[in-house]
Amino acid sequence: MSSSISTRAEKLHGLMLEQKSGSIFDQKELQILAKIANPEDLMILAQELINKQLLKLVKQDGVLKFQAVKASEAEKVQKMSKDEAMIYSYIEASGREGIWTKTIKAKTNLHQHVVLRCLKGLENQSYIKSVKSVKYPTRKIYMLYHLTPSIEVTGGPWFTDSELDTEFIDSLLLVVWRYVASKSYPNAFNKNPEYNAMEKSQPPQQSFPHTYVDYPTAKDIMEFISNSGIANVELSQNDIRALCNVLVYDEKLEKLHNGFIDSYKASWQSILENGGGLENDVGQEEDSPFDLFDSYKIITPGYNENESEIPSDIKDGAIYLDSWMNG
């Protein structure tokens, strides 16, 4: 620490730093801490510290408060130019949210060239870093070098390097669906040989009664995922809810309204499409009309994503929509 400050000021600074990091003190608290009865004496010490960048003034609920700054930090700021220090202070104040260059310019009232030069200088010294915001991908946002961007900026667990990680989402969706499906119908995926041998005597469908309430909730799914250790990021209940909603939009899950919040059940169709369901089907009605829902047996799901995989009869227009519109 600089030797040019008085011992009393140094002592006060030391006492303030001993408290919880980032603690803010009002005048009375400082008086008690430093055991100084006269506020004027305290103000002299505070002014001394402020001059040396060792104390920061913070306005909270209309009251002026004080926050101690580490000596290393103060030294860093002292080495900066006036403009750089001002810009640095705004970036520091923005915390984990970061601050947009345009906002810096508006707040500091500096010319753009000056702002850009200062930012470049600070970035070169590794005091600040530029982060990509998921919310505003075109904006250049800065924050202190050692800080981790907030969820608002990174986009949460679904984003890796500010890109939506669809592969991760798809695998999680599959895991969630599989977990819910296994709890939705008894023996829906029971394909062991022993069971198959018995199957002929079994009914073609086994269901839980209407009074059954143990369908998985978002909390259950979250616990299952965190216990299984599938995901390396921490997922909240809201994240799981978002995944379940996607599955509901996919018509693979149904949201239940049985008095439990966020209770889900897999749709029977999704189980059939994924090779579940019991084999000994009840005799189909002979005069049954063309069943669009059985098409999963002949069409690979998502076939239109890769045109080369489209079976020729579908390509030829088994079902075609545009003929009338273009005809």
């Binding site: 669809t166 469908q205 939009y249 075609y320 003929s323």
Partner: protein, 647 residues
């Protein structure tokens, strides 16, 4: 029956060889109907239909003016068209006869193949339950086939057309006619069968108006008077048909096929398919049995009451469009009527299930599993302090008492019965025990059918008493088929996006991305495709006064009715196009087909035709079969959007 176009000139008039382009371009339905009529009744009849669709109601002279066909040919075609109920007529005050196209008639032709299969399967199933022999099943089919091909037929007409050998079955034929009438498949035609119902209604309205003006001398506003007269007209109009239906049917009465009855069957089949994919095959089978038992008595799909409402709205009205509230009122009344008529209890359904023979027997035991029943019985009851009823099955008496005295108790404890019966080893009257067990399981199945919130297959009026909400199920049914089509044509991601837009009502791209967890680029490409096919609509929300595009937010919404109608048009167009392809292919190979149909070649094709001709003929038949299959598949989809939905 059909008027052929062998020569270009008849009676000095030019006969058009090809259908005019407007028959295809004026609407997909017109394209479909003209293609159907062309393949059944020939080009001239098709041309007349096309003109009638285009111009509405026309006299013979006007038809001649538009078609350039000779009057004789027009009259000849009109006879066939009226006979098959494709065209209806009306006579105005000046005794001019107007002809109008009748949409319902043409569906009997489109569905004819399906109708015959339905009748065959219906009586084949009955055969297994009620021991109707195979010969009778064939007679049922033949009768319906004849009625469909000639439009209408009396029992005497049918008997007179039989050969001497067939006359031996006269009693059986009469029985079959009787059965078909009782089952609602055939209905007697009334004297208004060939007439335009709207014109009839309008005529009646004018009469009532004249009568009202004459009888009521008090001053009354015009709109009030109209409401009064319309009310009287609707009553009078309904009375006309009630009077007709009250008449006793005899062998001289002409009978026609009841399209409504067939549509009800189709609706049941579609609903049981929906149930199969939502709840499972066993639930679907039970549901199908319920539907088959009650479908006949449900309200008509092409409903007269709704028709009257539409007529009443169109007749001498200055207001625009049909009042949705009055339509809703009528639908609500129909719903209530359905709920009243279609009431049933578990016992009835169990009896119906037990009628099935061994082959079709439904295994109910072990179809309901409650994994935590035993665990929960002990724990939960204490925890929640809910007094729970416990059935003791040591003696049969306790069970009998329970079944006979309190149906509600039995319902609540159905799972107790199921579980405890699984391990029940007593040898006292096992059959009855099994019956009670099945009753309890069946009740749980019915509860499952009624507890699904999105698809309420049944409504539980009171414990143990259910009814079928046919009208309420129509929208989820069509919505479901629509979604499935979107999934098949555009892919799973499109369905995800569409469902999200549907739930959010109005949503922008950014929020959409957050909700469906999809990359922006992908979302944009899906949105583009869906907008191109008018599945989604764009709503522009300008943020600046100059409506700058950069600052404007674009949101998306889905209008189901609109996009469903577009889809319906596409399907209709595709059906027509398939028929067009078949006709084209046939006319390309006309010489070969004519040759194969020659008397000396028929049956001896392998001898009389060269190898290349045989290959070509085979190709031709395969082409026709595969296209007809496509046609029928498309048709079954159109069913859902055309008829099986809330009007």
């Amino acid at each position: 029956m059909s008027a052929s176009l062998s020569s270009n000139k008849a009676n000095g008039n030019e006969i058009p060889i090809e259908l005019p382009l407007f028959s295809k371009t004026q609407s997909p339905k017109s394209y479909l109907f003209t293609q159907i009529v062309q393949s059944h009744l020939g080009e001239q009849a098709s041309l007349i239909i096309s003109v009638l669709i285009s111009y509405g109601r026309l006299t013979i002279l006007k038809i001649r003016e538009h078609t350039h066909l000779p009057i004789f040919n027009i009259k000849q075609s009109l006879v066939s068209l009226i006979q098959l109920n494709l065209v209806v007529f009306s006579v105005d005050d000046r005794d001019r006869v107007f002809y109008t196209f009748n949409g319902n008639g043409i569906y009997k032709i489109i569905y004819s193949g399906e109708i015959i299969t339905t009748i065959h399967n219906f009586y084949k199933n009955k055969n297994e339950k009620e021991f109707i022999d195979e010969i009778k099943v064939n007679i049922f089919t033949e009768i319906v086939q004849n009625v469909l091909s000639s439009g209408y037929l009396s029992i005497d007409d049918y008997l007179n057309s039989l050969s001497e050998h067939e006359h031996k079955n006269e009693e059986q034929i009469k029985f079959c006619f009787n059965q078909l009438i009782n089952d609602g498949w055939l209905k007697p035609i009334d004297k208004f069968h060939f007439q335009n119902r709207f014109d009839l209604y309008e005529k009646l309205y004018k009469q009532q108006l004249y009568k009202f003006n004459k009888e009521n001398k008090i001053v009354m506003s015009e709109s009030k008077k109209q409401i009064e007269v319309k009310k009287l007209t609707a009553e009078k109009f309904q009375q006309l048909f009630i009077d007709e239906s009250d008449k006793k049917i005899n062998s001289k009465n002409s009978l026609t096929f009841n399209l409504n009855r067939f549509l009800k069957r189709q609706r049941s089949l579609q609903l049981s398919l929906l149930c199969k994919h939502k709840l499972g095959p066993l639930s679907a089978k039970i549901y199908s049995i319920i539907l088959q038992k009650f479908e006949k008595n449900s309200t008509d799909i092409i409903n007269e009451k709704i028709d009257i409402l539409k007529y009443s709205n169109e007749v001498s009205s200055s207001s625009t469009g049909l009042d949705p509230e009055s339509l809703e009122n009528v639908i609500h009344k129909l719903k209530l009527k359905d709920l009243e008529i279609l009431k049933f209890n578990v016992n009835e359904i169990l009896r119906e299930i037990q009628k099935n023979n061994e082959k079709n027997k439904i295994k109910l035991t072990k179809s309901i599993i409650n994994p935590n029943k035993k665990r929960k019985n002990g724990i939960n009851n204490q925890e929640n302090n809910i007094p729970r009823k416990k059935i003791k099955l040591e003696t049969l008496d306790s069970l009998d008492e329970l079944v006979n005295q309190q149906e509600q108790k039995k319902v609540e404890n159905s799972m107790d019965v199921d579980f405890e019966m699984d391990g029940y080893n007593g040898n006292q009257n096992e059959n009855e025990n099994e019956n009670e067990n099945e009753l309890a399981i069946l009740n749980t199945h019915l509860k499952i059918l009624s507890s699904n919130k999105d698809y309420k297959f049944l409504i539980e009026n009171s414990p143990g008493s259910f009814s079928i909400p046919f009208i309420d199920l129509a929208t989820p049914l069509s919505q479901n088929i629509y979604n499935q089509l979107i999934k098949l044509i555009f892919g799973q991601d499109s369905l995800r996006l569409l469902n999200c837009v549907n739930e959010s009502k109005l949503i922008d791209e950014k929020l959409l991305g957050n909700l469906i967890l999809m990359k922006d680029l992908k979302i944009r490409s899906i949105l583009n495709r869906l907008i191109q096919f008018q599945i989604l609509e764009i709503q522009e929300i300008p943020k600046t006064q100059d409506r700058s595009a950069i600052r404007t937010v674009f949101t998306f919404k889905h209008n189901f009715t609109l996009s469903k109608n577009i889809l319906k048009n596409c399907l209709n167009y595709n059906m027509a196009h398939i028929l067009h392809l078949i006709t084209d292919k046939k006319s390309e190979n006309k010489i070969l087909i004519d040759k194969s149909l020659r008397d000396d070649v028929k049956g001896r094709e392998e001898e009389m035709l060269i190898e290349s001709e045989l290959v070509k003929l085979n190709e031709l038949y395969n082409f026709e079969i595969s296209n007809l299959v496509k046609f029928n598949r498309l048709r079954s989809l159109v069913d859902v959007f055309e008829y099986l939905q809330t009007p």
